[in-house]
């Protein structure tokens, strides 16, 4: 649940999501759920000419299982806090 909480702190931020089929989408993180499914608003496809399929989409839902990477602005991440939280969670044996 740690990364669910972590992504919740990023709501409203600009992120880029790379899918497991190499398609990448950018947009504003609207919401995230426990499966790390994400909802994006103001979606733009990276390399839109190559992927005209997604051209008419403004808002979208991405299934967590097809996400390879989520790129986040480094200014919005406190890596020390995240490391501490990771240690705490693993110490609890979860």
């Amino acid at each position: 649940m740690l990364f669910y909480s972590f992504f919740k702190t990023l709501v409203g931020k600009e992120i880029a999501v790379e899918l497991k089929n190499d398609v990448a989408l950018t947009g504003t993180l609207h919401s995230v759920d426990q499966y790390l499914n994400v909802k994006l608003t103001d979606v733009q496809v990276v390399d839109a000419e190559r992927y005209p399929q997604l051209g008419a989409i403004k808002n979208c839902f991405i299934r967590g299982s097809v996400v390879r990477y989520i790129q986040i602005p480094s200014a919005d991440v406190d890596t020390e806090l995240l490391q501490d939280a990771c240690r705490k969670e693993s110490a609890q044996g979860k």
Binding site: L19, K20, N21, D22, V23, L25, N37, V43, R50, Y51, P52, Q53, L54, G55, A56, I57, K58, N59, C60, F61, I62, R63, S65, V66
Partner: protein, 119 residues
Amino acid sequence: MLLVRTHRGCLLPLREGLLKRFAPISRHVLVFYQGNLKGYDHTINLVLEGCKERIYSQSRGVEQARETGTYSSMVVQVQLGLYICRGDNIAVIGEVDEVEDASKDLSRIRAEPLKPVTH
């Protein structure tokens, strides 16, 4: 609603039929379904009403399932009706900007095949 799916099993019978009738279509295609979202559950299984299928390829224009039941040389028009799609096949669900979508000339769109989702 628009639903993007990678090239996978459960729709093959339909696509085999299309391939027989309209031979020179690449097998590596992306399948799109467009319809009204009637329902879903926590695994993102979807129920789509008035569903249309779009097949993108490099060699010809978009093949789109339409309500009319007639077809031209470029656009295959098949109405799928009510469709239930299993969640694990789903990659992206997007809200379609219908004005922008309608302004596109589908018969001119060429798209490189998308890679399948590899887990």
